[in-house]
C-alpha cells in the first residue's frame, strides 16, 4: 500500500464506460418531518438514467401525475400533490399531521397503474443543536493540471461543525443538511437600484453527512457538516438542519456516503448496490431506488463574517455592475434582508 500510495498518484486514469440499463427504475427521494414546512415534507419521483460517462450530462426524466400518499400506523392518510410539472410531490400545510412515535408509509400509484410502497418508517426524536462552530482552514488537494502534471491545489474555507449532546440511550442516528445564504454587493454607479442582495444556494452539501452514536453514546460531540467557501469577503449565513433517522435509514445514508468517498483503493469494500426501503407492490421483482425517510428535525444557523478573514487567495474580488437582483451570477437572489443579516 505504501507503494500503492507512492505510485498511485500517477496511476489513476479516467476512462469511458457505458453500461446501458435495460429497464428504467423508479427513484424515490423524499421525507416527511415533524415540522410543518412544505420545503421539507416532499417526495421527488424520477426515473434512473443509463450510466454513460462519455455523455457527461444526466437527463433526469421526472414522473408526473402519480398519486402519492403517506399513511401512518393508525390509518390516517395525507395526500401529496405535484407542484406544476416538477415531479415533486409536496405535503400541504393544511394536510400536515406528523407526530413522534408514529410510523409512516409512502404509497405511490403511477398513471399506468403500477403501485409502489415503502416499508414503515418511525419518527424518532432528535436532540437539539447545542451550537454551531466554524474554523477557517486551508485545504490541500492534489489535482492534475491541464498539462497532466499533478499539482497541489490549496484552497481555503470555513469548516462548519454542529455541536450535539447525544442522549443517554443507545441507537441514535443522525443526518445533517445545510442551507447557505450569502450577501453580495454590486457597483450600481449613480443608478438608484438595489446594490445589496442575498443569494440562497439551498443545500451546499456535496456529500451525505450522517452519523450514529455507536462509538460515543451519551457524549457531547462536534460533527463537521460542510465547508463554506471563502470566495468573496461578505457575510455568509449557514443553516444546519439535523434529522433523526431510523437504523435502517442510517444504513442507507451511510452506504451512500461510502459510495461518494470510495476511491477504489485496496482497502475499500467493493462497490455494491444500495437497497432502500421502497418496493413494488405489483411486481415484487422490480427494483426501486431510493429511500423514504421520516424524521424529527431541528435547525440552527450561524453567520460567518467572511470579510474578517479576507483577502482570500486567488483573483481579487471585483464587484459586479448593475442591479444586484439581475446579475444572474447566483440563484434565488433577493433584495429582502433575510433573518440574521
Amino acid at each position: 500500500m505504501l507503494l500503492a500510495v507512492v505510485l498511485l498518484q500517477a496511476c489513476v486514469d479516467p476512462f469511458e464506460l457505458q453500461t446501458g440499463e435495460v429497464q428504467q427504475s423508479l427513484v424515490v427521494s423524499g421525507m416527511i418531518t415533524d415540522q410543518n414546512n412544505p420545503e421539507l415534507n416532499k417526495v421527488a419521483l424520477t426515473w434512473t438514467a443509463p450510466f454513460d460517462s462519455e455523455n457527461q450530462q444526466v437527463i433526469v426524466e421526472r414522473v408526473h401525475n402519480a398519486t402519492v400518499t403517506v399513511q401512518d400506523n393508525l390509518g390516517n392518510s395525507m395526500p401529496l400533490y405535484e407542484e406544476g410539472r416538477t415531479g415533486v410531490y409536496t405535503l400541504q400545510e393544511s394536510d400536515f399531521q406528523v407526530e413522534h412515535g408514529r410510523s409512516y408509509t409512502l404509497h405511490i400509484t403511477l398513471p399506468d397503474g403500477r403501485e409502489y410502497a415503502s416499508r414503515p418508517e418511525a419518527v424518532r426524536p432528535v436532540p437539539a443543536i447545542q451550537g454551531i462552530s466554524y474554523e477557517f482552514k486551508q485545504f490541500v488537494d492534489v489535482v492534475r493540471n491541464s498539462a497532466g502534471v499533478l499539482i497541489e491545489r490549496r484552497s481555503v474555507g470555513f469548516e462548519v461543525k454542529a455541536q450535539v449532546q447525544d442522549p443517554p440511550e443507545r441507537g441514535n442516528f443522525y443526518r445533517w443538511d445545510t442551507e447557505g445564504v450569502f450577501e453580495f454587493y454590486t457597483n450600481t454607479g449613480d443608478v438608484p437600484v438595489p446594490s445589496v442582495c442575498w443569494a440562497n444556494m439551498g443545500s451546499i452539501n456535496t456529500k451525505v453527512v450522517a452519523n450514529n452514536d455507536r462509538l460515543f453514546n451519551g457524549r457531547y460531540f462536534e460533527q463537521p457538516v460542510v465547508v463554506v467557501p471563502a470566495d468573496i469577503p461578505t457575510k455568509y449565513r449557514i443553516k444546519i438542519r439535523q434529522f433523526s433517522l431510523t437504523g435502517e435509514a442510517y444504513e442507507f445514508w451511510r452506504l451512500f456516503n461510502e459510495q461518494q468517498t470510495s476511491v477504489g483503493s485496496i482497502f475499500d469494500p467493493p462497490p455494491a448496490r444500495i437497497n432502500g426501503n421502497m418496493y413494488s407492490v405489483t411486481n415484487p421483482g422490480e427494483r426501486v431506488v431510493g429511500y423514504f425517510t421520516a424524521s424529527a428535525m431541528v435547525e440552527d444557523f450561524i453567520v460567518i463574517q467572511r470579510m474578517f478573514y479576507a483577502p482570500f487567495p486567488g483573483l481579487p474580488y471585483e464587484l459586479p455592475l448593475g442591479d444586484c437582483r439581475y446579475t444572474f451570477l447566483y440563484p434565488n437572489v433577493t433584495n429582502v434582508r433575510p433573518i440574521g443579516f
Binding site: 500503492a4 462536534e222 437504523g247 475499500d268 467493493p270
Partner: protein
C-alpha cells in the same frame, strides 16, 4: 568402518596364504538335495557333513532360499552354485576353511574368475539398503532435497528434512550420483553387498549466490512420487526469478505457480485454486502465521536469506496438515553453518538485510541470525502529494535458529521469529502489526525404520490502528495468541510401506478489538470486544503403500475436533426472520472454560499413482479439509488489520472437498517435465457478507455474515525445463471460482441466490518464467504473466437522491476489469567464480513491469458535483516500469 576393517582382514588373509589352493578340497564331492531351504541352513548342513568351516556375515545370506540337487558335484562348483543367487563368491582358504566374499570384494582379488560389474536387470534376490546423509562439506548443513540416484537402476530418492536418504536395492555394484542445488555433483562407485550407510559430503560450486542446478527433487520425482498439486521451490529458484524493487520474495514466486492467483499488486495474501486468502495454512518452521506480508503485500514475511525450502500443497494435502481448506505453504528455514562462520546480506533501495551463521559446537551445534529492515520513507519524500509525503512506514524482522545434534539419534531445533510493521497514512492514521513465534522441535530416531518428532509452537499476532486527529483520536488494538503442540511418528517397516501417525492440539485466543480513546478530548467511548477462545485437536494416520513398481497408493484419515470455549455470550437469533440485531431473541452466557460449541470432522485423504511407462504416470487424489478460524474481511484485498474470528454456534466451520486428476510425463532424460492436473472443489459454509456490512467493532457481527457455498474447478498445464543453461517453466491455467449465497429471505441472498464469480476468479492465467545463463557469471531472467481481469461490480444507472447523484450498481461481480499482463526482467552478475571463495558478491539489476503497463487494480466512480455523470477511473497500483538494483554479499571465514 567396521565393514572396511573386515575386508582388510580378509585381504590380509588372502595375501598371506593365497597360494595355498588345497587340491584335497577340490576332490571332495557332494551329494545332497535342498528344497527351498534358507542358505544359512544349507551352509550349516555343509559344515556338519563335510567338516568345513564357512565364514560369512549373516546379512549377506539373509533371505536367500536354495533349491538345488547335487550328485557327486565337486565342492567348489557346488558352493559356487549355492552362492550365485546371493551374489557372493568364495575363497577356499585351506581345505577346511571357506570364506564367503561379496562379489565386489572378490573382484578385487579374482577379477579373472568373477564378473566384476553388477549387471543391471539381472536382479539378485538379496535386497540391501543403502542409507546415509548428504551434507555440505564446508558447513556441515544437511541437504534437504538432494537427489540420490543409482544410475544403473535408474532408481533414486530425495534426501529428507535432515538430509537423510534410504534406498532399497538388489545387492550389487552401482554408480551412485548425488546432486544438490549449487553443489558439485558427486558420483562414486559403491559396492552394495550388504546394507550399509554412506555419508556424502558435497562441495559448493563457485558462484554460489546463483546456482545453476534448478531441481531440488529427484529427476523423475514428479512422475514417480505420489504427490500431486505439490510445488517445491528452493530458495535458489526463487532468487533467480526477476523481482520487484530488487527484493527476492518467496510469495511472489509462489504466485507464479499454476493455480495460485492474487487480486492484484499490493494485495497481501494469495488465492489457491479458488480459495480465499485465509484458507492457506502458512507455516514458517512449523509455526502458523496469520499475516504473510510486510508493507501491505510488497514484501513477504520470509527473509529470503533464511529460507531453505518452500513447499506449496494445493492438492493432495497430506493428513498431517489441517486447519485450512485450500492449501498449505510450508517454509523451512535453513540451519546455521556447522563448520565456519558466514556473514551475508544485501543492500537494496527499500530494504536491507544481514545474516550471521556460525557453529556453536563444531559439527554439532550451530546458530543463524537474520535481520531485515525497510526504509520506504526515503522514497516517499519524492511524491508530490503532501499527504503522501507526510506518510511514513517501516518494517523489521528477526529470525533466529539454533540446531543441536545431541547424538546420532537426537536432534534439537529452536527457531524464533519477530516482526513489526508500521505505516502511517498522512499525518493521522497509523497502522501497526507484528508477529512473534517460537518453535521447538525434537527429532528422535528409534531405528532407521522409526522416526519421531515432537514440536511445540507459541505465537502471537497483534495489530492495531491509531488515529490522532481530535476529537476522534483513538487506538484500536487486536490480538491473536496461539499455542500448538504436535507429535509425529514415521514408520517405514519396508520399502513398500510408509506409515505416519500423529496428533496435534492448538489453542487460540482472539481479541477482536479494544478501542481506547486517544486523549481526554476524544469524544469516543472505550469499546472492548469480548475475547474468543478455542481449542482445535486432531489425530491422523496415513499409509503409503507401493503395491508394485507401477501402482502405489496413499490414504489417510484426519479427525479434527473443535471446541469454542467460554467465558462468552452467544446471541440466539430468531430462526424465523433474517439475522439482525433486532432479531436476537436470547443471550446465552457461558462460564470460563465451558464448551460453547463443539464441532468434529473426519477429513479423509487419498491418492493413487499408476505408472504408464518409465517416465509417465497418472495420479488421482481426493481430500477433505476443515477450517475453524476465519478471516473476516469484505474489502477487495485483506488489510493487515482485518479481524480473525473463531467458529461459534452461529458461524460454522468451513469445509472443502477436492478431487484431482493429473498426468505427468518427463522427456529428454527428465530435463523436461510435463504435467496436466484437473481439479474440482466444493466448499461449504464459506463466510460471505451482506452488502456494505460493517465488520469492525461490531458486537452482532454474526448477523452481518452469510454462509455461502462455493465451487471451483480448473485445469493446470505446466511445462518445466531443468537443465544447465536455460531453465524455467511455462504454465497455463483455466480455472473458475464461484460462490453462492442462498438464504431463506431476500436479505440473506446475494444475486438472488445464483452463483457469482468470487473476487479473485481469473479464468485464464499464463505464466512464463525463464532463466538463461549467458556466461559463467552472468544470467538473464524473464518473467511474463497474463491473466483475465478480476470480476467487479459495475454501475448500471444513476439517479438523484436529495440533490446528490447516486450510482446504481449491477448484481455482484458481473463485469470484469481489463486483463492483466506484465513482463519483468532481471540481470545478475556474480563477482567471482572461484571455488569456495571467502568473499562472494553479486549485483542484481531488475526491471518490474518492463513495458510500463497500467494494469488496473480496480475501477471506481467518483461522482462529480453539478449534474454530471460520475467519471469512471482505473486505479493501477504500479503504473510504470520500476527499476531496481541490489547488492548481495557473502563472507566466509
Amino acid at each position: 568402518m567396521r565393514r572396511r576393517y573386515h575386508y582388510f582382514l580378509l585381504a590380509l588373509l588372502l595375501l598371506l596364504s593365497g597360494h595355498t589352493w588345497a587340491q584335497s578340497t577340490e576332490q571332495r564331492r557332494i551329494t545332497a538335495s535342498y528344497q527351498n531351504q534358507p542358505l544359512t541352513a544349507v551352509l550349516q548342513d555343509l559344515q556338519q557333513k563335510h567338516r568345513l568351516r564357512v565364514f560369512y556375515q549373516p546379512e549377506w545370506v539373509e533371505g536367500v532360499q536354495i533349491t538345488e540337487n547335487f550328485s557327486q558335484e565337486p565342492l567348489a562348483s557346488a558352493i559356487q552354485k549355492l552362492l550365485g543367487k546371493a551374489r557372493l563368491s568364495f575363497v577356499l582358504y585351506d581345505d577346511q576353511t571357506v570364506v564367503l566374499v561379496p562379489l565386489s570384494a572378490a573382484s578385487v582379488f579374482r577379477s579373472d574368475t568373477v564378473p566384476s560389474e553388477a549387471v543391471p536387470g539381472q536382479a539378485s534376490e538379496r535386497i540391501v539398503t543403502l542409507s546415509g546423509q548428504v551434507r555440505n562439506a564446508k558447513t556441515g548443513e544437511p541437504f534437504i532435497g538432494a537427489t540420490v540416484l543409482i544410475l544403473e537402476l535408474g532408481k533414486g530418492t530425495v534426501a529428507d528434512e535432515q538430509g537423510r536418504y534410504t534406498l532399497a536395492v538388489p545387492a550389487g555394484n552401482y554408480t551412485l550420483r548425488v546432486r544438490a542445488i549449487g553443489m558439485v555433483e558427486d558420483q562414486r562407485r559403491v559396492s552394495l553387498q550388504q546394507s550399509r550407510t554412506m555419508q556424502v559430503e558435497l562441495f559448493e560450486v563457485s558462484n554460489q549466490l546463483r546456482e545453476v542446478e534448478v531441481s531440488a527433487k529427484a529427476p523423475d520425482h514428479n512422475v514417480e512420487s505420489l504427490e500431486m498439486g505439490v510445488a517445491r521451490l528452493s530458495i535458489q529458484e526463487v532468487r533467480k526469478m526477476p523481482n520487484f524493487l530488487g527484493e527476492v520474495d518467496v510469495l511472489r514466486s509462489v504466485i507464479a505457480l499454476p493455480g495460485v492467483t492474487t487480486v492484484g499488486e499490493g494485495a497481501s495474501g494469495f488465492n489457491v485454486r479458488g480459495g480465499s486468502i485465509d484458507q492457506n495454512l502458512i507455516l514458517q518452521d512449523q509455526a502458523p502465521l496469520f499475516s504473510a506480508s510486510h508493507l501491505f503485500g510488497f514484501f513477504s514475511v520470509f527473509n529470503p536469506d533464511m529460507v531453505q525450502d518452500v513447499t506449496l500443497y494445493r492438492g493432495g494435502i497430506p493428513a498431517r496438515y489441517g486447519g485450512r481448506i485450500s492449501s498449505v505453504l510450508d517454509v523451512e528455514l535453513k540451519e546455521g553453518n556447522k563448520k565456519a562462520p558466514i556473514l551475508s546480506g544485501g543492500i537494496g533501495l527499500l530494504a536491507s538485510r544481514l545474516m550471521v551463521e556460525a557453529p556453536l559446537l563444531k559439527d554439532k551445534a550451530s546458530f543463524v541470525l537474520g535481520a531485515r529492515g525497510a526504509y520506504p520513507g526515503l522514497a516517499l519524500r519524492y511524491v508530490p502529494d503532501k499527504s503522501v509525503r507526510d506518510s511514513d512506514g517501516y518494517f523489521y524482522d528477526f529470525n533466529a535458529k539454533v540446531d543441536y545434534t545431541i547424538s546420532a539419534k537426537d536432534q534439537l531445533m529452536l527457531s524464533g521469529y519477530l516482526s513489526r510493521d508500521g505505516f502511517r497514512f498522512g499525518a493521522d492514521t497509523t497502522y501497526t502489526w507484528g508477529t512473534g513465534t517460537a518453535t521447538a522441535r525434537w527429532n528422535h530416531t528409534f531405528s532407521d525404520k522409526l522416526l519421531s518428532s515432537v514440536t511445540g509452537v507459541v505465537g502471537d499476532y497483534d495489530y492495531g490502528v491509531k488515529a490522532e486527529t481530535e476529537p476522534y483520536s483513538y487506538t484500536l488494538d487486536s490480538e491473536i495468541k496461539y499455542k500448538q503442540i504436535r507429535a509425529d511418528l514415521n514408520f517405514e517397516p519396508s520399502a513398500q510401506h510408509k506409515l505416519g501417525l500423529g496428533a496435534s492440539s492448538s489453542w487460540y485466543q482472539f481479541s477482536p478489538g479494544t478501542l481506547t480513546p486517544g486523549s481526554e478530548q476524544s469524544s469516543l467511548l472505550p469499546v472492548n470486544m469480548p475475547h474468543e477462545r478455542s481449542i482445535e485437536a486432531a489425530l491422523y494416520l496415513d499409509h503409503e503403500y507401493v503395491l508394485n513398481p507401477r501402482i502405489s497408493i496413499s490414504y489417510g484419515l484426519r479427525y479434527s475436533s473443535y471446541y469454542n470455549l467460554g467465558p462468552g455470550d452467544v446471541y440466539v437469533y430468531d430462526p424465523e426472520s433474517p439475522r439482525r440485531e433486532s432479531s436476537i431473541i436470547d443471550t446465552l452466557s457461558y462460564s470460563n472454560g465451558g464448551v460453547i460449541q463443539q464441532y468434529g470432522n473426519f477429513e479423509p485423504r487419498a491418492s493413487l499413482k499408476i505408472s504408464l511407462s518409465e517416465n509417465s504416470s497418472v495420479k488421482l487424489g481426493y481430500n477433505r479439509m476443515a477450517q475453524y478460524i476465519h478471516l473476516i474481511s469484505n474489502t477487495t484485498a485483506a488489510s493487515p488489520v482485518d479481524i480473525w474470528k473463531t467458529s461459534n454456534p452461529n458461524l460454522r466451520p468451513q469445509l472443502g472437498d477436492q478431487v484431482a486428476l493429473g498426468f505427468f510425463k518427463n522427456l529428454q532424460d527428465n530435463t523436461i517435465e510435463l504435467s496436466a492436473e484437473a481439479y474440482y472443489k466444493k466448499l461449504h459454509d464459506l463466510v460471505e457478507y451482506k452488502d456494505g456490512a460493517r465488520l469492525l467493532l461490531n458486537s452482532t457481527l454474526d448477523a452481518d455474515l452469510l454462509p455461502g457455498e462455493g465451487k471451483a474447478y480448473g485445469l493446470e498445464l505446466m511445462m518445466r525445463r531443468k537443465g544447465k543453461k536455460l531453465t524455467g517453466w511455462a504454465s497455463y491455467t483455466y480455472s473458475r471460482s464461484l460462490r453462492r449465497v442462498n438464504g431463506p429471505t431476500p436479505e440473506e441472498r446475494i444475486n438472488d441466490g445464483n452463483f457469482f464469480p468470487a473476487n479473485f476468479d481469473k479464468p485464464h492465467d499464463l505464466t512464463l518464467v525463464l532463466n538463461q545463463q549467458l556466461s559463467r557469471l552472468i544470467s538473464l531472467s524473464a518473467n511474463f504473466t497474463y491473466s483475465t481481469g478480476r470480476p467487479i461490480t459495475y454501475p448500471e444507472s444513476v439517479g438523484y437522491i436529495d440533490g446528490l447523484l447516486m450510482v446504481n450498481y449491477s448484481d455482484r461481480n458481473q463485469h470484469r476489469i481489463p486483463d492483466y499482463h506484465r513482463l519483468d526482467l532481471a540481470f545478475v552478475i556474480d563477482g567471482t567464480n572461484k571455488r569456495n571463495a571467502n568473499w562472494v558478491s553479486s549485483w542484481a539489476f531488475s526491471v518490474y513491469n518492463v513495458y510500463g503497463r497500467k494494469n488496473p487494480y480496480s475501477v471506481f466512480f467518483k461522482p462529480a458535483y453539478g449534474g454530471t455523470i460520475p467519471q469512471a477511473y482505473r486505479l493501477s497500483v504500479i503504473g510504470s516500469a520500476v527499476p531496481a538494483i541490489t547488492y548481495n554479499f557473502k563472507i566466509t571465514r
